[in-house]
């Protein structure tokens, strides 16, 4: 669930645009490089983008009586890194803001930052750390995708708390942060787990059909691919 149109007062909506733009520019630059140097990865980029499309359209009921949707950005963050992912998130958020009045054009900067930048950066960092620690690949993908989804909503709660700090009697900034955290992040816990499981499953299929691209993108080493394929056969 994104921050709705008009729900960020000045100067916050401008601040989040300013924060998001450098990441998007870096993403465009990396995308251009990818198109020029690794053309065979473009179908996989389309799949990763489509994945964000599908998952962020599914509003799922959570345990506490409200609904939210997964982000689906973990897959693309692991495959292509957080900067290219921010571009994919921008496309999805634009679609939802224009056609669905879900999210908004003035809150686009804040929403791109939470869904397209902060979540994916966490996913990417966790995945790289897990790979170094030679964690099981699927467990690693699951953790990275789940935490990224959850972290996106922690950031959303933080963005709203900064813009709407509660009066000092009700705990001030921390008070409103925990109030928004309960709404967004708590709802998200079961959905984040489902998202992590599904992304790990899709990862398995990608290893099945195109392990060479994963090696080329430095997502997996040839050794890991060989080991996984041996275990599967």
């Amino acid at each position: 669930m994104h921050i709705m149109e008009g729900f960020l007062p000045s100067p916050w909506w401008q601040i989040w645009f300013i924060v998001a733009i450098p990441f998007l520019v870096l993403g465009l630059y990396q995308l251009k490089k990818l198109f020029a140097e690794k053309r065979e990865t473009i179908p996989l980029l389309a799949v990763a983008g489509a994945f964000v499309f599908v998952l962020s359209s599914l509003k799922l009921p959570s345990v506490n009586g409200s609904c939210s949707h997964p982000t689906g950005t973990g897959l693309s963050a692991i495959l292509f890194g957080p900067f290219i992912t921010s571009i994919l998130a921008l496309i999805v958020l634009l679609y939802q803001a224009i056609f669905l009045a879900h999210g908004g054009l003035t809150t686009l900067g804040a929403n791109v930052f939470s869904m397209g930048i902060s979540g994916p950066i966490v996913a990417y960092a966790l995945y790289v750390a897990g790979k170094k620690a030679s964690l099981n690949t699927f467990v690693n993908v699951f953790i990275a995708a789940t935490v990224a989804d959850l972290f996106t909503y922690v950031v959303t709660a933080g963005q709203l708390a900064l813009a709407f700090p509660a009066p000092a009697a009700q705990g001030g900034l921390l008070g409103s942060f925990s109030a928004f955290l309960v709404i967004f992040a708590l709802t998200q816990v079961p959905l984040a787990i489902i998202e992590g499981v599904i992304i790990a499953l899709v990862f398995k299929y990608i290893i099945d059909v195109r392990p060479d691209i994963l090696v080329k993108l430095n997502v997996l080493t040839q050794n890991t691919v060989n080991r996984i394929r041996e275990a599967a056969s």
Binding site: M4, F7, A50, F53, N64, I98, L105, A179
Partner: protein, 99 residues
Amino acid sequence: MKYKAEIIAGIVILAFAIIFLLTNASIQQNLAEGEEAWGGADGQAAEIIESSGYEPWVSPVWEPPSGEIESLFFSLQAAIGALIIGYFFGYYRSRQAAS
């Protein structure tokens, strides 16, 4: 085991569905007349913000005129994504089978 990941995913989704059915049963019982459960998390946040006296300073340029039309666009979004995923996985798999 070959289908370990599929089995785990199936179990997690099943557990999710069961938890949903159980919580739904108890929520529906305690619901007051005319009240509706399972609203969006963003709506709840909006309520908190608006209760502090804040008015959104701009409203969406275009809003889906009804819940049906809104679900049309959400389904369209999912369909476009699913189409692309299916197309490329099919492409990869048949290429792999041919080689």
